[in-house]
Amino acid sequence: MNAAVHQRTGQADAAEAFAGWLQGLGGNGDQNSAGGIDWLESEREQAAARVRTQLVPTNKSEGWRYTGLRKLIEQGFVNVDEPVTALTPDDIGEFLIPELDAHRVVLVNGRFSDALSSLGELPKGVRIGSLRDLLESDPASVKGVLTRIAGEGRHVFASLNTAAIDDGLVLQLDRGAIAERPIEVIHLSIGMDEPRVAQPRNLLSLGDGAQAQVIERYVSLGDALYCTNSVLEIALGRDAVLKHTRIQQESRNAFHITGLYLSQEANCRYAGTNIGLGGTWARTDLVTRFAGEHAECDLKGLYLAGDQQLIDYHMDVRHALPNCASRETFKGILYGKGRAVFDGLVYVARDAQKTDAEMSNRNLILSPNAEVDTKPQLEIYADDVKCSHGTTVGQIEPEMLFYLRSRGIAASLARRMLCLGFAGEIIDALGPESLRDYVAEQVGQRLEQAPLE
């Protein structure tokens, strides 16, 4: 009884601490860029109010059942204040993907950096810039999109981000605009004297028929300890095509939260691949809403969680309209004390007939202390649909390892080969080739370094 009471008080304390912490982060006062824009002010205030009133998630909350927040709360993150200006383009050399020909945008600690970005010549109708600048020069251009796609978001961290909207990346493609070269976005984080949280707000908006490829990368300088709480809103117009790769390769001390909110008009196609390699604690929510029929959404993912790492993907694909297709293919490799959480929900509303939804989550566990918690859910209210999901958890077959070993291949290399074979489905779909090679190498190196157990 006593223990129970203690535990309850303990939880209440943690909840209180967390609530206090959240509120402190909710806004950063005068510095904020949204001053004077009524609609945004109002959105921010509402979000701040939600932060104040929303219940603090605990492991009793369904969305946080397997993902404890204690570790995050204990860090006592405070908001990033000053932009980092000391870096030169040479400093980011180590992060570049060899031979990748792209328009490059760099954000440092959530702030758009003109000095480090090399946009090159952008095609007609393609605009890339900082949210901060845009809110000063032309706020009307993001009205009705910014904050509208994410809405209240899936949880308190999205509200927190909205309440603190300040800077981030804005990529806009006019109707029919086509960006041939990929657009690479490097989110660079640098550790500060105390643990800081950066809350970039990013926006990708493609007009009708526009096409682009975006490669987003989260990287950090050294072993920095920090938190990123980002929200990315993506609006795709009719017939638009977006190929989107997100590579999270942050420091092993980093905390990472992303909410990706996607709105798809009729006939458009979104193909997203999420590669989760870094961070000590990473939570990603991918939320899709179909706003028109015959739209397609393809979500792929590969995560590698090793010692002291938790990687969590939550997916919410909502079919409210008929004739849309969604596909989720996530694969995970776990070793050491690595933990992964996969929580996918496909919701098919009453009128969403002819929905075609597929979800698959496959996991390889390489060590006795690794853990995977997976929850692929279907919620279906329409009868003429094709929906399926599949999950597997398994290990490398000893026979396969033996086969390779007997041909003189070292154990670590054999394991790398087998795991890359397993992950091939995700990696091979990446393009261009330089990106594919880079990701395969990153994943391969991590696997080879992983302790053999």
Binding site: R350, S367, P376, Q377, E379, A382, G390, V393, G394
Partner: protein, 494 residues
């Protein structure tokens, strides 16, 4: 033998279809009739006094009374579970009468002394008690409301050393066995409904199969809720000692009522080393009328504990009744090399809601489990599979295969899948697959082209869809289950 009258559907009754799905709508509840017999019923309400009264009436030992009271006190602090995807108005637990027993006239010594009205009810249900002795292999412990009134084949079982009796009787005759095992699989604090059941259960079944004994016949209990406004709180406890085998059948129907009736049963299975328990259920309680009025709330906790090495527990269920079903027959695979199985067919139509599934908790080495769940949702039926597969860190070589398929009939029906999979061991192998679909036009066309009516075609396809589960049922049950399925879907598909 048959819990379902076989003559329920005749060819004449079937309306010829013209390709329209909505032609046949009103297949009323086949077993909706009420037998009026005098009952000894406690007034509605629940407090410690009621529990003491129940315990005293049953002549239970002191420890049992205390056990009930402890459960009650915990229950008062427990919240009602609200995570299932079912919707119903709050239940007033004080408006329920917690005890109802058919009046005893010095206790019937043989069937002749049993209230004729009661016997008639069984006849209507197709449980010919008089003929039971002549029928091969099945002993029936018939539960009418809450007290067992007739038990057959006791002697034969007794010869084999198998104890098969009501739990009240067991509490008097084998108190030490009951005390040793009751609440060890499903503790009274497990959940809200278990708490309530533990406090007020009035009857149920107790089975004990001694070491190295194969139970000579299939054991069977038919439940029937009859007295208006009485919740039914059954408690079943089955213990299979080392090297034994038992197959238990549970089947139920209920008379038509307007009042929602609560049913919160608890079933505990314990399998020791090398023992096997096979538990089959056909549930066909009153589902409510086409507007969802009335119908049984079926909030059941069933759990099996594979306590011994190489033990096996297998759950098979065919769920076609009840307004709301909330039920997750589970297996705790504690013993090394133990096996858990769950085969389920659930049908929801009209306004029925079902949230059902299983939990397979792998603790021992080389444990394996199989889950096959088939859901059929028609009209406004709402259905969810909710399951957990947990492979603990020490469960070396654990294996699970899960398959849940849903079939949707009509655009107002719904089917959901909420699987939870937690794996903490690298040598585990687990697979989960789920599909949701409707009966394809091609399949229907193929059958129709060969002269089958649309209704027969649908029935055939649905039976094929459920075949994997029916195969697991004891043969007589399997035949009934198929019939039941056809009857259940009759109003739903044209």
């Amino acid at each position: 033998m048959s819990a379902i009258p076989a003559e329920a559907t005749t060819a004449e009754e079937k309306v010829e279809t013209t390709g329209q799905y909505d032609e046949l709508v009103n297949a009323g509840y086949e077993h909706g009739f009420i037998t009026e017999i005098e009952s000894e019923t406690l007034p509605p309400g629940l407090d410690e006094g009621v529990i003491r009264t129940i315990s005293a009436r049953k002549g239970e030992p002191e420890w049992m009374t205390e056990w009930r009271l402890a459960a009650y006190r915990k229950w008062l602090e427990m919240p009602t579970p609200n995570w299932a995807s079912v919707h119903y108005p709050p239940i007033d637990y004080q408006s329920i009468s917690y005890f109802s027993a058919p009046k005893k006239k010095d206790g019937p010594k043989s069937l002749d002394e049993v209230d004729p009205a009661l016997l008639e009810t069984y006849e209507k249900l197709g449980i010919p008690i008089e003929e039971q002795k002549a029928l091969a292999g099945v002993a029936v412990d018939a539960v009418f409301d809450s007290v067992s009134v007739a038990t057959t084949f006791r002697e034969k079982l007794h010869e084999a050393g198998v104890i098969f009796c009501s739990i009240s009787e067991a509490l008097q005759e084998y108190p030490e066995l009951v005390q040793k095992y009751i609440g060890t699989v499903v503790p009274p604090t497990d959940n809200f409904y278990v708490g309530l059941n533990s406090a007020v259960f009035t009857d149920g079944t107790f089975v004990y199969v001694p070491k190295n004994t194969r139970c000579p016949m299939e054991l069977s209990t038919y439940f029937r809720i009859n007295e208006a406004k009485t919740g039914q709180f059954e408690r079943t406890l089955i213990v299979a000692d080392e090297g034994s085998y038992v197959s238990y059948l549970e089947g139920c129907t209920a008379p038509q009522r307007d009042e929602n009736q609560l049913h919160a049963a608890v079933v505990e299975l314990i399998a020791l080393d090398d023992a096997e328990i096979k538990y089959s259920t056909v549930q066909n309680w009153y589902p409510g009328d086409e507007n969802g009025k009335g119908g049984i709330y079926n909030f059941v906790t069933k759990r099996g504990d594979c306590r011994g090495a190489r033990s096996k527990i297998s759950w098979t269920q065919v769920e076609t009744g009840s307004a709301i079903t909330w039920k997750y027959p589970s297996c705790i695979l504690r013993g090394d090399d133990s096996v858990g199985e769950f085969y389920s067919v659930a049908v929801t139509k009209g306004m029925q809601q079902a949230d059902t599934g299983t939990k397979m908790i792998h603790l021992g080495k080389n444990t394996s489990s199989t889950i096959v769940s088939k859901g059929i949702s028609a009209q406004h039926g709402q259905q969810a599979y909710r399951g957990l597969v947990r492979i603990a860190g020490k469960a070396e070589g654990a294996r699970n295969h899960t398959q849940c398929d849903s079939l949707l009939i009509g655009d107002q029906s719904a089917a959901h899948t909420f699987p939870y999979i937690e794996v903490k061991n690298p040598s585990a192998k687990m697979e989960h697959e789920a599909t949701t679909s409707k009966i394809s036009e091609d399949q229907l066309f193929y059958c129709r082209a060969r002269g089958l009516t649309e209704e027969d075609a649908v029935s055939m396809i649905v039976n094929g869809f459920c075949k994997e589960v029916f195969n697991e049922l004891p043969m007589e049950f399997a035949v009934e289950a198929q019939k039941l399925l056809s009857i259940s879907l009759e109003g739903a598909v044209g």
